[in-house]
Symmetry: C2
Subunit: 117 residues, 2 copies
């Protein structure tokens, strides 16, 4: 994935409505009208979000007889996840240090309690 695609993917994900649309499409394809329902948004407003998702390659729309259902395309999500994965070591180290610190605190508390009793 080019860095430009990663820009578009992250920008597309930076909006709660667009993330909710992807969440809905993860359950199966849906029409624009179906996607608009839970958001109390106008169809043009939803269409705007769909265009951002489409340009980022996160959804596709196929033409079928009477409707054009939207489908989720998960490949860019994998690329974004792969990018983040490089940082896993860092957040795990941070959590380990926090764990260690909490255990130290607990140890001190128990020592204090024993002294007091």
């Amino acid at each position: 994935m080019t860095t430009v695609m990663l820009d578009k993917t992250f920008a597309a994900l930076a909006d709660p409505t667009r993330r909710a649309i992807l969440g809905r499409l993860a359950e199966g394809e849906a029409s624009v009208t179906e996607l608009a329902e839970p958001f109390e948004m106008t169809l043009p407003a939803v269409s705007k979000h769909l265009k951002v998702l489409e340009r980022a390659g996160l959804i596709t729309r196929t033409r079928r007889a009477q409707w054009r259902p939207c489908q989720l395309e998960p490949a860019p999500l994998k690329e974004a996840s792969d990018w983040l994965e490089e940082y896993r070591r860092l957040w795990e180290e941070r959590l380990d240090r926090l764990d260690e610190y909490l255990r130290e605190l607990q140890g001190k508390e128990q020592a204090d309690e024993q002294r007091q009793s």
Copy 2:
């Protein structure tokens, strides 16, 4: 993590310079001047990017005697990764189907070759 924080994290990641800054900080803390060097950018331009990263909670800046080094804060990256993780099943299924299709194609090709020989 609130949805607002996730908005800020993804928006902050939607820029190649900001992702490169995080990449540099993953190796250790750095000053603004050190961060600016590889980008041929003015210090104010880099500072602007740092502010976006700081507001997203992705970096912190501590004051020390003569300088204010920037540190990476990996927690929001973990949250973004956790959000994406929900979609892993979808991209793995897609890759499995692609695999299956390629194996089918190969099977057909081999059958064709055997018929021709």
